[in-house]
């Protein structure tokens, strides 16, 4: 697998994977996309990196704690569900900030929930990939 072309190309391709994953993440509310699929795209980028440089390099370069990723994902999702309760709305009801950002659009609890999904899935897929590669 570790040819020169592949190793060189992956340095350029990985940021593109991440950028594409962000694009999918933010367009997910009204179009195909969202946290889950964006996380899969991001994880694929990291798995390619792992194939090119070996698992140890990837782990050292990005220094990810997969369990903490999963935990923060759950925390973000729970937070998005509980913030509305805190302000007196229904459990999991969508709250939006009044301002609208260029490109991204409105921010609110649904995007926080999706961020939770994103982190959880990245953590889960990377943990699975790490375990499989280590064997």
């Amino acid at each position: 697998m570790r040819t020169l072309i592949y190793v060189t190309a992956i340095r350029i391709i990985l940021p593109m994977f991440l950028l594409f994953s962000l694009y999918l993440f933010f367009r997910g509310h009204d179009h195909p996309g969202g946290g889950f699929i964006a996380a899969l795209v991001a994880s694929v980028g990291f798995i390619f990196h792992m194939l090119a440089f070996g698992i140890e390099t990837t782990k050292v370069t990005y220094n990810v704690n997969t369990f903490a990723l999963m935990g923060s994902g759950l925390a973000a999702a729970l937070l998005s569900a509980l913030i509305p309760v805190w302000v007196g709305k229904n459990f999991m009801e969508a709250l939006w900030l009044p301002i609208e950002l260029p490109v991204i659009g409105k921010l609110g609890t649904p995007i926080l929930f999706d961020l939770g999904v994103y982190l959880l899935v990245v953590g889960m897929v990377l943990k699975t990939a790490f375990s499989l590669f280590e064997d």
């Binding site: 369990f67 759950l74 925390a75 459990f91 009801e93």
Partner: protein, 501 residues
């Protein structure tokens, strides 16, 4: 806003599991998190139960969507009773799994606590949801985390059991999903209250009975009813005893819960299904008990006893009068406590004798008489000797059975009780009474044994006290069961509570 109390028992296990993920390498922290999390959950469950019993059904709409479009969470007397019992076990299992003989230290540092919390999360969700597709999702949460628990440790035998467990349960889930798809195609809704309105209306298409059979088969697999119980004795005895105890105590009852909830609430009455349930109840009781009599491993005997006693719960559902259903509900509570305690005690026997085989253990009555007493109370309770808890459940079921002239069913139920006495005496005689295990080198004195396995002894004793309380002070739980059963048959009240909040 008081309805938000419903979220406490539901979300606390998830919150605690999340905290455990951050403390993955620190077993000690996970233990603190588990203990505090399960206690807060129990307190929340008790508060929710109090509110439901005082003021009636509590429901909240997730996301604030109008029912039936959003997902509804509903707590009625039936579900809160089971939620409380579940989380009582959730606290006790912490103490039971402290000694390494019930769950080894390596297993505890590989995600035992978060998996257990997620399983409790799944069970609570399944009990509190008011949406049929959401119920499927909760079943999956429960299934996946219990799969982790069963296979934790990767022993060959364990994996063999886990593969059987997962395969058959995935098939059950697929059937469940197919049933949901049919219902959604017919009624365009997955909200149980809304489905109840649409499916119980006049002139509903006969396809609803196809969906009903899908549900029946799927939940019969999950509840281990005849003829779909074979996976249970093959998989439940394989994991470490602490894990086997909680899974054996709880999961099959959630299958029965789902069966009761859907058949009583959602589907129209059908004489054929009623007859089918009657036959299944009879055959489940008989095959289970004969299986138990044929086994030599304590855990296998207990696994077959679980199957056999699922028959009693179906019996109440098959008779389908409020009093019979109250009997079923009481029997579920009794059965969860007693079965778990019997598994607890078989773990204690193993801690002393290093074997689950009834021929390889012996003389415990002489050495550890208190353990014999614990076993005897739970075993007699299971058999149904008055005034222990099993008697009241069986009395309620048998009396309504006689009142509705189901003589065969009542006869088989009584016969099964007698045979249960035989099955438990097959454990009692060789393991506790006879002295033939004396050639074993037993080095521990009684005091040293208790000190070494303190958590197991304490939790088993606490559970025995609960069983005794349930027997001698049956009134409150019987009253709650009757209230829950009447609430189940009062469909309009449930529908109003969900659709017109």
């Amino acid at each position: 806003m008081t309805a938000h109390i419903l979220l406490v028992p539901l979300l606390t296990p998830l919150l605690a599991a999340m905290a455990c993920l951050f403390a993955w390498k620190k077993k000690q922290w996970q233990q603190y998190i588990y203990l505090s999390g399960s206690m807060i959950t129990l307190a929340g469950a008790a508060a929710l139960a109090w509110q439901v019993l005082q003021e009636g059904i509590v429901s909240i709409q997730a996301g604030g969507w109008e029912p039936p479009f959003g997902i509804t969470l509903v707590a009625d007397a039936f579900s809160v009773l089971l939620v409380v019992v579940t989380h009582v076990l959730g606290v006790l299992i912490y103490f039971y799994t402290l000694p390494p003989v019930s769950v080894s230290q390596e297993r505890k540092s590989f995600g035992f606590y978060p998996s257990l919390l997620l399983m409790l999360f799944g069970i609570t969700g399944a009990l509190l949801t008011g949406d049929i597709f959401n119920l499927y999702v909760w079943f999956e949460v429960m299934l996946v985390s219990s799969f982790v628990l069963i296979s934790l440790g990767n022993e060959r035998l364990q994996l063999e059991g886990a593969v059987k467990y997962v395969t058959i349960n995935f098939i059950a889930s697929a059937l469940f999903l197919a049933g949901i798809a049919i219902l959604y195609g017919m009624a365009g809704s997955t909200n149980m209250a809304d489905l109840a309105v649409r499916l119980r209306a006049d002139g509903v298409s006969d396809i609803v009975y196809v969906a009903m059979l899908f549900f029946l088969v799927s939940f019969s697999i999950k509840a281990a009813l005849f003829p779909l119980f074979f996976w249970l004795p093959a998989s439940y005895p394989t994991p470490p005893i602490g894990i086997a105890a909680i899974i054996a105590g709880l999961l099959t009852k959630i299958g029965i819960y789902a069966l009761i909830r859907t058949l009583i609430l959602v589907f129209p009455d059908n004489a054929f299904v009623q007859q089918l349930l009657l036959g299944m109840a009879i055959l489940t009781m008989l095959t289970g008990i004969f299986g138990a009599i044929a086994q030599y491993d304590m855990r296998k005997i207990l696994a077959f006893l679980i199957v056999s006693h699922m028959g009693y719960m179906v019996m109440g559902l098959a008779i389908a009068t409020p009093l019979a259903l109250a009997g079923t509900i009481f029997y579920m509570v009794h059965s969860i406590l007693v079965k778990t305690n019997l598994f607890f005690i078989s773990g204690l026997v193993f801690a002393d004798q290093q074997s689950f085989h009834i021929r390889k253990a012996g003389g415990l009555y002489e050495r550890l008489p208190w353990m014999a007493a614990l076993f005897l109370i739970s075993a007699f309770s299971l058999v149904g000797i008055p005034p222990l808890s099993g008697f009241w459940g069986k009395y309620m079921l048998a009396s309504t059975g006689l009142a509705t002239e189901q003589y065969l069913l009542v006869g088989v139920a009584l016969l099964t009780s007698m045979l249960t006495l035989w099955a438990v005496s097959r454990i009692w005689l060789p393991v506790f009474w006879q002295h033939k295990g004396a050639e074993k080198q037993v080095t521990l004195t009684q005091g040293a044994f208790v000190r070494k396995n303190r958590g197991m002894v304490v939790s088993s004793a606490a559970l025995t006290l609960l069983i005794l309380w349930l027997g001698f002070q049956a009134d409150p739980i019987v009253e709650i069961s009757i209230q829950a059963a009447e609430q189940l048959f009062d469909r309009q009240a449930y529908i109003d509570a969900v659709l017109k909040p």
